[in-house]
Amino acid sequence: MYKIAKENLSALFQKIAGDKELYLPVKNGGQTNYAAWDETVEVDIDTLKTVKSAKDAFFPQFETLYNVKREGKKLDLQQEALKDKDFVIFGMKACDIQGVKVLDNVFLSEPVDTYYAARRAHGIIVAMACHEPEESCFCKVFGLDAADPSAADVATWMVDGELYWKALTEKGEALTASVKDLLTDADEAKVEAEKAQIRAIVEKLPYSNLSLEGWGGDATDVKFKSPVWETLYKGCLACGTCTFVCPTCQCYDIKDYTTKDGIQRYRCWDSCMYSDFTLMAGGNNRTSQLQRYRQRFMHKLVYYPANNNGMYACVGCGRCVEKCPSSLNIVKVIKAFENEGGSKA
């Protein structure tokens, strides 16, 4: 284990950015989001949660898939270059990393999404423990340890103005080696204490004892037909805030943009909350907001687990809790069914 003083971090970032792209939480206009590092940005690793999750780094909100040129009747098609350079994403929390795992099951299952796969292959995740978990957090419910983000290439802890650094994988070791001269050796005692403290707070979080009983892959029938949905969705504005800040939402749209130079086929995030998500020429199979609202949560808590060995497509990051304009969120859904005890269905 190594450490580096907080005030030396910019040297660290500079070093990393020397030969790799570096993404990290940056404050812009009062909001903190992941963005590419350069000397001019205002790095903000103190804010617990970025507004958008880190999923952009692997599954960007917008990306070009390929370009088509038309000459007379002929078409010429050019696939967009895949990510071919390593990049570092610094500061991901345990929940966001779990979000990427959720996406992996989708994009890396056959047929593999090569755009995603390339980014995944070239991405080096430097995780950060959650120094001060907040009331909207409930990652513990999904078995995550905010104190010890172990699914990364490097794990870090910010303790008393020093960043503790621990490589977890080969990629992590390589990265560590490349910045080694900025790091100093450290013992784990302080980190252990920090972990204990974080875990103690997590225990006290209001949502930490949320129960997922009754959810999971087998619950389709019971949950789908439950009348509880009727009481939950009415405040929903059908905006896409929850889906766009969510680390696991992966619905996308594919569209064309025509310019004088040809047709650009791009993919962009879409939201199952939008009324035209499932609209097609002949009809729409989810015409009511109730159906759309239910779909989102059923997918996260039932359908996805059914297809992925019980893994939930929610990581308890709590962004929807904080950002929903109508204060609706997955916690309220889970609690509503908790109260129902699943019996009413």
Partner: protein, 147 residues
């Protein structure tokens, strides 16, 4: 038709002209041989009130460097009130574009009657000169439409 680096900058200008006054004014400018730069391309609309802000933003999105709207003089609208609405709409839109930092010289409304061929030509000359002096539109356009 692309512009080489060493060529002088020639702006792309879209001119929306109402059918009854300004388009006729442009015709008169033509028949009177009153020249104005070829950078101006006219789109005929029935009335200035047909021009949707969406059209103007679209033009900028697609790489226009200036957009001008010409209609009948206030009070002379073929449809009696169309240009009054156009006047308010464009005042609002142009004010907003100015507010978000787009150079206000890139947008203009001019009232040109069917009898004002000379004004039409002079207006276009002036507008092109203004937009040319502002240079390429970089603040309001879609990157995908550029190069």
């Amino acid at each position: 038709m692309s512009i080489g680096a060493n060529e002088e900058f020639r702006p792309k200008i879209v001119a929306f002209c109402c059918n009854w006054c300004s388009y006729a004014g442009a015709d008169l400018a033509g028949s009177s041989r009153l020249a104005y730069p070829a950078d101006v391309k006219i789109i005929r609309v029935p009335c200035s009130c047909r021009v949707n802000p969406m059209f103007i933003l679209r033009a900028f999105e697609r790489g226009a460097d200036g957009v001008i709207l010409c209609g009948c003089h206030p009070g002379d609208c073929h449809y009696s009130t169309g240009n009054f609405y156009a006047r308010r709409r464009m005042t609002m839109l142009f004010s907003m574009l100015d507010y978000i930092g787009v150079e206000n010289g890139r947008t203009r409304v001019e009232w040109v009657s069917a009898a004002e061929g000379a004004k039409f030509s002079a207006t276009m000359n002036d507008f092109v000169a203004k937009v040319t002096s502002l240079g390429k539109n970089v603040r309001l356009g879609d990157l995908r439409c550029k190069n």
